[in-house]
């Protein structure tokens, strides 16, 4: 198929960007969206132009690196998939496709479609862990049984890939879905109980410092999340936060 692309081009964080139009032809519907972008870049290089910079690595929906706003939607029109898992069979011959970076105050553009998401790392550093050294002298792994239901819920929360689609899609630029998924993973496990209160307080504090917006319960994040991370996690984090704020000393 033949397509018209309108791609956000921006040389660096400090420069202005704009949409630039490109045509690509002979795109097969078995290609992934990023393979279509490879075709465009190959052509641009051959003709002496600057290829479009975009983040990607695993190309199978797990590393969380790919991040494109496609026709106004984070990761494009399909639900439950990342940009790299989107295939061209979701488009038709003659389509015009708008391709833009994540837009959020906390994620400055580095170049073209690449943004800086290191704010997520810093939120994690503020409390997204269980304080246990690697001594190899911990309890036997089966010493504390964990109810299957809790283990499964914890796992579901832990499948967040840290892509930032939730932030990009939220009109307020809130990171609540991402942060609450991490808080929930630990809150649901016996191992996470000791630091439960400090964790949620510290992570939320850092989240606010990093310039993410407030959550006003719009719910767009859940819809666009490629891993179907549930809004229940946000509700859980709000409870955790309230509990921790009321009695911070015990």
């Amino acid at each position: 198929m033949n397509l018209t692309l309108k791609v956000w081009r921006q040389k660096s964080t400090s420069e202005q960007g704009k949409l630039v139009e490109y045509k690509v032809s002979e795109i097969s519907e078995d290609m992934s969206f990023l393979e279509m972008m490879d075709v465009l870049n190959y052509k641009l290089i051959e003709s002496g132009d600057d290829p479009v910079a975009f983040d990607h690595d695993c190309r199978e929906g797990i590393c969380g690196m790919c991040s494109m706003f496609i026709n106004g939607e984070a990761h494009g029109p399909n639900r439950g998939v990342t940009t790299c898992q989107l295939h061209m069979r979701s488009f038709k011959d003659g389509d015009t496709i708008y391709i833009e970076p994540w837009r959020s105050a906390a994620f400055p553009v580095i170049k073209d479609l690449m943004v800086d998401r290191s704010a997520f790392d810093r939120v994690q550093q503020a409390g997204g862990f269980i304080s246990v050294n690697t001594s190899g002298r911990t309890l036997d792994a089966n010493a504390i049984p964990v109810p299957k239901e809790d283990a499964d819920k914890s796992f579901d929360a832990a499948t967040c890939i840290g892509c930032g689609a939730c932030v990009a899609t939220c009109p307020n630029g809130s990171a609540m879905l991402f942060v609450s998924a991490k808080v929930s993973q630990y809150a649901l496990l016996p191992q996470g109980q000791v630091e439960r209160k400090e964790r949620v307080l510290n992570m939320v504090k850092k989240m606010d410092e990093e310039g993410f917006g407030n959550c006003s319960n719009i719910g767009a994040c859940e819809v666009q999340c490629p891993k179907n991370i549930s809004l229940d996690n946000i509700a859980r984090m709000n409870r955790e936060y309230l509990m921790a704020s009321i009695k911070p000393e015990n």
Binding site: K11, S12, S28, D30, M31, S32, E35, N41, Y42, I45, E46, P51, A53, D55, D57, C58, R59, E60, I62, C63, G64, M65, G80, Q85, H87, R89, M114, R117, S118, D121, Q124, Q125, A126, G127, F129, I130, S131, V132, N133, T134, G136, T138, L139, A141, N142, P145, V146, K148, A151, D152, S154, F155, A158, T159, I161, G162, Q185, L189, Q191, G192
Partner: protein
């Protein structure tokens, strides 16, 4: 040069304990004055960085992705082995040790493998304490599954996302140390050279991928945890950025590269569909717990299926060939990867392939769906259930086990694997070869270590499934933190290492010269043009089957590619700022040199073992034929300045605990 693996004396089950009891230590006050650079933040790097920082060393950690959490380990699917014997099925440290040595076709080092088996159980304890949500049964205890090449269930898992959960665990441990100021994180940084001062590794040159600047970082030791080199084939299941550059640049500085031709072709991947393809996708080995592999028994049926005149579901049982169950009754669908891959290739080469390219076999879950459906009906006390209901119940169970894999398959192939059997074919997946290391994981450059997939040490000529995650975490959490002290004990008086020295100047200029050269050559062809060309040659001639003639041809062709590459590659932009094409060019330059070494290594090894199958050396029924008399050694290659003329240095393998015999899974 002779190689000393520094294996401690004593009986195999006491070596590691003895080593730990007598190894030199660095006291906490001194650790604060010692810098360690960890390149890579996958399972090996993240666990090493976290552990070293907890111990008190000052750590810098680098990765080329935008966050350590995105290292390629994140993509590991099926599971991690550990000799816990929770299933009470006869597992033990010895059995894991034995399975790994045999699985590697008797080409790995006994002492290293035994240590790996010893520490395996602690890994699971550690991860659970960190909050890794492994799969559990209804009693709340940890669940296990089986992987190839074993007859026990020792694989711990978190659905099809085990690597993700383990890496996020190690990343959280690392994040804690970053928060405390014990680790300095250098995201979007790529190491491009190793700096050697007075024969010791003293730092690295790295490119800041955002600004484009070349940076100097000094340290008392450098650990390369930079993953495998499967992307030399262009198409592989590795992430797009996975590369050999860090290891290769260390090799050029004197670190020996061991067994480069030992690469793993994984039997169950989604087949290639066209030229546009940028990577291949794995379907986890865990699927072979429940999926049965088959092709049609008769060529006319295969032809009809290829022509889409016959649907696989309509082919009656007696016209199907479950060739793994037929050839290897003892292990069936769970034979090791090298064997399963070759068997698939053999059937497809004979004309029994089932997709339009003729290069695919079926992985069929229908029997498992019925089996699970019936079991669920019994558990739920349902009687007189219809077949449709049984299928529904069974699909639920399969979904709970492998849901995300089935979804991935459907996204790519646009077919529902619950309804029609999956089509799969072997693809490049893992590299057993890597930097040569001794028992302490030190390369032949003092102070330069290699951990995880980047080293060669534990898997011989073929790695068993779910053992790479185990090795990565063993190296990083439990081995390197001990062994590095033995070296750093001599560094407590060194003080911080200056970077304004001739050695750093030379290394930085070396990198600058190479990178600038890409902009001034007046070339016209994109980097990918060369990478694809190289990959195809290596896949055809140094892939699942190799022979002398093909390898010689490949070596000549790769030399031509190398010459043409520097003359005619086009890298747009400049050294400044973000430039993904420049990153790729530097990586492909190294892949080209490595590719030639792989072929030289394969040509040197006149035997078949594990993943290295030389067509000239096989048994009458097509199994690999080893030559223990002449090739029971590690082939460690030394860089001489000319990539075509490396020196071969041998480390003999000595088996004192396991009787070396023909490897049979029949």
């Amino acid at each position: 040069m002779t190689l000393d693996a520094k294996i401690p004396s004593g009986s195999i089950d006491q070596k590691w304990t003895k080593y730990k009891n007598s190894v030199r230590l660095v006291n906490p006050a001194n650790k604060r004055n010692i810098d360690v650079i960890v390149v890579g933040t996958g399972l090996a790097g993240a666990s090493a960085a976290a552990s070293l920082a907890e111990m008190g060393y000052k750590v810098k950690a680098l990765c080329f992705q935008d966050s350590p959490r995105r290292a390629h380990s994140i993509a590991a699917q099926g599971g991690i082995n550990a000799a816990k014997n929770y299933m009470n099925d006869g597992d033990s440290t010895y059995r894991l040790f034995y399975d790994t040595i045999k699985g590697g076709d008797y080409r790995s080092r006994e002492a290293n493998v035994h240590r790996l088996a010893e520490v395996s159980a602690n890994i699971i304890d550690q991860c659970v304490a960190q909050g890794v949500p492994f799969a559990r049964d209804y009693g709340g205890l940890l669940d296990n599954r089986s992987f190839g090449g074993t007859q026990v269930s020792r694989t711990f898992y978190a659905k099809g996302q085990t690597g993700q959960q383990l890496l996020l665990g190690a990343y959280s441990a690392m994040s804690r140390q970053v928060g405390k100021g014990n680790i300095q994180l250098l995201n979007r940084h790529e190491m491009l050279d190793l700096v050697i001062v007075d024969g010791k590794a003293r730092g690295i040159i790295a490119r800041n991928m955002v600004t484009g600047e070349l940076e100097r970082h000094s340290a008392h030791a450098v650990a390369l945890c930079t993953g495998g080199y499967g992307n030399v084939f262009f198409l592989s299941t590795n992430a797009m950025g996975s590369n050999v550059t860090a290891g290769w640049r260390a090799h050029r500085r004197g670190a020996l590269f061991a067994n480069p031709c030992f690469t793993q072709i994984h039997p169950t991947c989604i087949p290639v569909s066209g030229d546009h393809q940028s990577k291949l996708t794995l379907m986890s080995e865990s699927l072979r717990n429940d999926g049965r592999i088959w092709v049609p028994k008769f060529k006319e049926d295969a032809e009809a299926i290829r022509a889409k005149k016959l649907r696989p579901n309509d082919l009656p049982e007696e016209r199907r060939d479950y060739y793994l169950e037929r050839r290897y009754p003892a292990f069936g669908n769970l034979v090791p990867r090298d064997i399963a891959s070759r068997a698939a290739k053999e059937r497809c080469d004979e004309g029994f392939g089932v997709n339009s390219t003729g290069e695919a076999v079926y992985l069929d879950f229908s029997a498992a769906i019925v089996r699970y459906g019936k079991a669920e009906a019994n558990v739920k006390g349902l009687h007189n259930v219809t077949d449709a209901e049984i299928l529904k119940l069974g699909k639920k169970v399969v979904e709970a086990k492998y849901g995300n894999l089935f979804q991935m398959y459907e996204q790519i192939v646009d077919e529902n694997p619950y309804e029609t059997p999956m089509m799969i074919y072997p693809a490049v997946h893992y590299t057993m070869g890597g930097l040569w290391v001794d028992y302490e994981l030190m390369t032949t450059i003092p102070g330069c270590y290699a951990c995880g997939e980047a080293n060669f040490s534990d898997h011989g000529a073929n790695r068993l499934g779910a053992s790479a995650l185990m090795q990565g975490l063993a190296d990083g959490y439990f081995v390197l933190p001990y062994t590095i002290g033995n070296y750093l004990a001599d560094e407590i008086k060194t003080g911080s290492i200056p970077t304004n020295t001739p050695e750093f100047d030379e290394a930085e200029n070396n990198v600058r010269k190479q990178l600038e050269g890409f902009f001034t050559n007046g070339g016209t062809k994109p980097v990918d043009y060369y990478h694809k060309k190289l990959g195809k040659i290596i896949w055809d001639k140094c892939g699942m089957a190799r022979n002398e003639e093909g390898l010689k041809w490949a070596i000549t062709e790769i030399k031509k590619i190398r010459e043409d590459f520097y003359k005619n590659v086009r890298v747009p932009g400049s050294m400044k700022g973000m430039n993904p094409e420049l990153e790729k060019a530097a990586r492909v330059a190294d892949f080209i040199e490595l590719g030639e070494l792989m072929c030289l290594d394969a040509l040197n090894r006149n035997e078949s073992c594990g993943g290295h199958f030389r067509e000239e050396y096989q048994t009458p029924d097509g199994e690999a034929l080893r030559d223990d008399e002449n090739y029971m050694y590690v082939a460690a290659w030394q860089f001489t300045g000319n990539p075509s003329e490396p020196n071969l240095i041998k480390e003999d393998l000595i088996y004192e605990n396991i009787k070396v015999s023909a490897r049979s899974y029949k």
